[in-house]
């Protein structure tokens, strides 16, 4: 039986925190199937990696990760104060030819049911919102 859960992490924007993020997602989704957990972990991971690698231009920075599980599903909010990102500038990868860039956002779109990005501005943080609905019960 699922129960409402919420967890917030305030993280330094370094790739060393990625394992901690994966563990936090697994912890909040421990009642779910391994595949659902993996997909959720990867979606959150890819967005966080994007923030870590691009939001602060290599300078020190921090970001906030809010994980929530409730009756509707799993939602994630990722906020940072860094450089705004333009998702539209990332082209879809050509999956028939191996590529070295572009899989990250493609995977996030494929593995989530909702994905929104709001660039920040004066007194406003950049915000990613992801949502993944619970899988339907199997067996009818």
């Amino acid at each position: 039986m699922r129960r409402d859960q919420c967890q917030q992490l305030d993280l330094i924007a370094e790739t060393s925190v990625l394992a901690e993020i994966g563990a936090a997602v697994a912890d909040i989704l421990q009642a779910e199937s391994p595949t659902f957990v993996y997909e959720a972990q990867l979606a959150v991971h890819e967005i966080c990696t994007n923030v870590i690698q691009h939001a602060y231009g290599g300078d020190a920075g921090r970001f906030t990760l809010r994980l929530k599980a409730d009756a509707d599903g799993f939602t994630v909010r990722i906020e940072d104060d860094g450089i705004a990102f333009d998702p539209a500038a990332v082209s879809e990868p050509d999956l028939d030819v191996g590529q070295e860039h572009g899989y990250g956002l493609f995977l996030v779109r494929a593995l989530t049911d909702e994905l929104h990005y709001a660039p920040g501005g004066l007194h406003r943080r950049n915000v990613w919102h992801l949502a993944k609905r619970w899988p339907l019960p199997s067996g009818g």
Binding site: T15, T49, P93, L95, Q99, E100, Y103
Partner: protein, 117 residues
């Protein structure tokens, strides 16, 4: 009559990363593959069975190695990961079409290769 014999050896290297292959850990795999290719070893098998998490950074390293190996007349083949989540991601990104995928029961000796210690 003179008979000349020439032996040719084609080397295959199996690379076995374990654990997480992600933006934090990927440099070691990248360095290993680069070192092999720099050394003229262009037939590589990357065994993903012990990889429990693979992200786009890890995938990029595999593609980079693939392109270089094929450009030099070789190839990079992948052994499927055990994790069903990771397997799904490889299918989703069509890695199973871009790479030749090998099953868990693949072995160099079964493929007719002699293992060099």
């Amino acid at each position: 009559m003179n008979v000349e014999l020439q032996h040719f050896v084609r080397r295959l290297v199996v690379v076995r990363p374990a654990g997480r292959v992600d933006a934090f850990t990927v440099d070691e795999l990248k360095q290993t593959l680069t070192t092999a290719l720099d050394g003229g070893l262009t037939e590589l098998v990357v065994d993903l069975q012990a990889v429990d998490f693979l992200d786009s950074a890890g995938m990029a390293v595999l593609v980079s190695a693939l392109k270089r190996a094929r450009g030099e007349g070789g190839d990079v083949r992948l052994i499927w990961p055990v994790s069903e989540g990771a397997r799904r991601i490889l299918r989703l990104t069509r890695f199973d079409r871009v790479f030749e995928m090998l099953d868990a029961d693949w072995s160099p000796t079964a493929a007719g290769l002699q293992v060099e210690a």
